[in-house]
């Protein structure tokens, strides 16, 4: 890996902040707004200093009303701007659901492509932060199930920077899901690297024996599981989906065909989930390469049990390794 253009280690929150700054500098149509994103800099400090740097017209607080925030962003996008708005927590975004489903997702289609909405809805999502009730949810399936939305989720700080730049540049609306447990994890980021295209998965770890397919907050967990598996003599690869919509069948299926065994890992409840869609797609497309049914390791189908029992809900290394163990090794 090249190290010549890496920044010092920065947190994911800082990587996103840098992406916002760079996008606002590059394009004065980019505006940032939401709840507490102004002088406070956001409850996770993602928008720290943007109002001071760019002024109140470019980064501002709104009344506390998520539907109004999304609705206003739609109008601003209709009138030539590129809003990047924040839903403070995943479970606080639901008042905006109608705006997202009925308008953000459909405007381009119902105007026959005459009105596209180049807007980004940033959503801190998933668990792992000990948040109390209504502060943690995995809402990706709602968005992914809605035609007309691009749905992206970074798992590394470099992708948080690069994918957000790509999302802001996109002519279509993007739901940008930020794994909130990783906001304060530090990594080096190459901000001069080419912006990754939306719609491409990436192989985080090569493996010959089995493939873990995952995204967002479960990527570090899957990598830890692969590391543990290696210690136990199994070579397990990890594919980071990155872009839920559009989905990169090519990269995911190539990895699965090479191993013949796959486990999908995600925090969201498994029933009717993104993990289920991935398992179905892999099964349809790789059936003759599979040595075992595709397994899913997901959250249970229960309301998010924050925070005292949260650890039982989130896929962990042991649960992943148990699923890998289950992939009918005795027959090969």
């Amino acid at each position: 890996m090249s190290t010549t253009t890496l920044t010092p280690k920065i947190t994911m929150a800082q990587a996103i902040n840098t992406a916002l700054r760079d996008a606002m500098t590059a394009d004065d149509r980019v505006v940032v707004f939401g709840e507490d994103v102004g002088p406070l800099g956001g409850v996770f400090r993602v928008t720290d200093g943007l109002t001071a740097s760019f002024g109140e017209d470019r980064c501002f607080d709104t009344p506390l009303a998520e539907s109004g925030i999304v609705g206003m962003a739609i109008g601003m996008a209709m009138n030539g701007m590129r809003p990047v708005i924040e839903m403070q927590f995943d479970a606080f975004a639901f008042p905006a659901f109608e705006q997202i489903v009925s308008h953000v997702a459909k405007m381009a289609n119902r105007t026959r492509g005459k009105v596209r909405l180049p807007m980004v809805i940033r959503v801190p999502y998933a668990g792992g932060v000990g948040g109390v009730e209504h502060h943690c949810d995995s809402s990706e399936a709602y968005y992914a199930h809605t035609p007309g939305l691009l749905v992206v989720t970074p798992a590394t700080n470099a992708d948080a920077y690069g994918l957000l730049r790509a999302a802001i540049d996109s002519p279509d609306p993007v739901i940008f899901l930020e794994p909130k447990k990783q906001y304060f994890s530090k990594e080096e980021v190459d901000v001069t690297a080419p912006v990754p295209p939306i719609g491409r998965a990436v192989v985080r770890r090569e493996g010959r024996d089995a493939t873990l397919i995952t995204y967002g907050p479960s990527v570090p967990v899957a990598l830890a599981a692969a590391e543990q598996a290696a210690a136990e003599g199994r070579d397990v690869g990890v594919v980071d989906v990155r872009s839920i919509v559009p989905f990169d069948d090519e990269t995911v299926c190539a990895a699965v065909r090479a191993t013949g065994r796959a486990v999908v890992v995600a925090e969201a409840p498994g029933f009717a989930s993104v993990a289920s869609e991935i398992a179905a797609r892999v099964t349809e497309r790789c059936f003759h390469h599979l040595e075992a049914p595709v397994r899913r390791v997901t959250g249970f189908d229960i309301p998010f049990p924050a925070p005292k029992l949260e650890r039982h809900q989130l896929p962990g290394v042991d649960r992943i390794l148990d699923a890998v163990d289950d992939l009918q090794w005795e027959e090969s």
Binding site: T62, P63, M78, E98, L150, P246
Partner: protein
């Protein structure tokens, strides 16, 4: 200001006592407005007829509300925006959009029929009040860009119960967005009467809670509506922020052709509103002023007939686009999944064609 009804012409076309006739809009404007009312009424009737003929899927008529429709469109400048609902076809037509394009959606097509950016008319919105925050966004963006654009946002009495009505009014007030909210209080949300929507003394009274100036106006009096709305537009344009206008009017016909109004209101109630027709009173006024005679009336009717003929001709064809277009606009660049699905549908259609040969 919000609890008294603003009116200039009474039901008989007389200037209301206490109103200085000099404050009425110029006669030439009112004459143009009357012509627009005649065209709007004809458009409503023609669209309803097309439903009966099976050429439109449905039509929510603004019959009786034409003064609101005409005033909302005519007070706007070329670069201003109009945000209509499904009942505001006549306003969109008055704004200058081709009436055939306006009826595209109600004919059962999957798109709004016109170019919102070129026409400065947002797609007609079905989910109640959801377009109002968009209107605020367009207005706020215009303000940030230093443009003097004003946005006219339409909704009905039922929509004032929705959360987005509240959020839009509140955002507009906080950001001093140049938006005029026109609530056409036609007394019914499908079957549910106003008393079940709100216990407020008036819908205009809601402006107080947002710090938004509000006005209650006779919604069947084009002169009063034009005066009130034009003043609100001017205030918005000069940086004075949003205004809420409640137009007191009545939905003369059922919600749509698919609705049976006899199940929830009686004919006597409707009959009371018929003499308050917006066309009757303006016609009486203009006739008394000596600017409207039978000849001119006939000329206006001719304009309306030509529009109606254009609508009939335009709705005669099938008009259905290539099914592959269903996949084309969802994203700027179709995803691999949509390309695959588009190919699947294309293969099905090809097979159908071959089977039919």
């Amino acid at each position: 200001m919000s609890d008294s009804l603003s009116r200039m012409l009474d039901e008989h076309g007389n200037v209301v006592e206490g109103v200085d006739p000099a404050t009425l809009p110029p006669l030439a404007d009112l004459l143009d407005g009357y012509r627009a009312l005649v065209v709007a009424r004809r458009f409503n009737d023609q669209a309803s007829a097309l439903v009966r003929q099976g050429r439109l899927a449905v039509y929510p008529s603004s019959h009786g509300q034409e003064a609101c429709q005409v005033a909302a469109a005519t007070v706007l400048g070329e670069h201003d925006w109009l945000f209509p609902t499904y009942r505001d076809c006549a306003a969109v037509v008055t704004r200058g959009v081709d009436p055939v394009e306006v009826l595209t959606l109600l004919a059962g097509e999957w798109h709004c029929g016109y170019d919102p950016v070129a026409t400065r008319v947002a797609p007609q919105c079905t989910p109640l009040a959801t377009q109002l925050p968009h209107a605020v966004g367009v207005a706020h963006a215009a303000r940030l860009k230093g443009e003097d654009t004003v946005v006219m946002a339409l909704c009905g009495d039922g929509a004032t119960s929705e959360g987005d009505f509240h959020e839009a009014l509140n955002f507009a007030a906080v950001f001093r967005a140049p938006v005029v909210f026109l609530v056409q209080n036609n007394k019914y949300a499908i079957s549910v009467p106003l008393a079940r929507q709100s216990a407020a003394p008036s819908l205009a009274a809601k402006g107080v809670g947002y710090g938004v100036p509000a006005e209650l106006v006779d919604g069947n009096d084009l002169a009063a509506l034009t005066s009130v709305l034009a003043a609100a537009v001017e205030r918005a344009r000069s940086g004075g922020g949003p205004t809420l206008v409640e137009a007191d009017t009545y939905r003369i016909q059922a919600h749509t052709n698919a609705d049976d109004a006899s199940r929830y209101r009686n004919d006597d109630e409707v009959a009371k509103w018929l003499p308050r027709d917006p066309l009757l009173r303006l016609k009486a006024y203009l006739t008394a002023q000596g600017v409207l005679d039978a000849e001119r009336e006939a000329a206006f009717a001719q304009v309306a007939e030509e529009m109606a003929a254009h609508v009939r001709a335009g709705s005669a064809g099938e008009g259905t686009a290539d099914p592959s277009e269903l996949f084309r606009h969802v994203f700027a660049e179709p995803t691999p999944q949509l390309r695959e699905q588009s190919e699947l549908l294309a293969a099905e259609l090809t097979a159908d064609l071959e089977a039919a040969r």
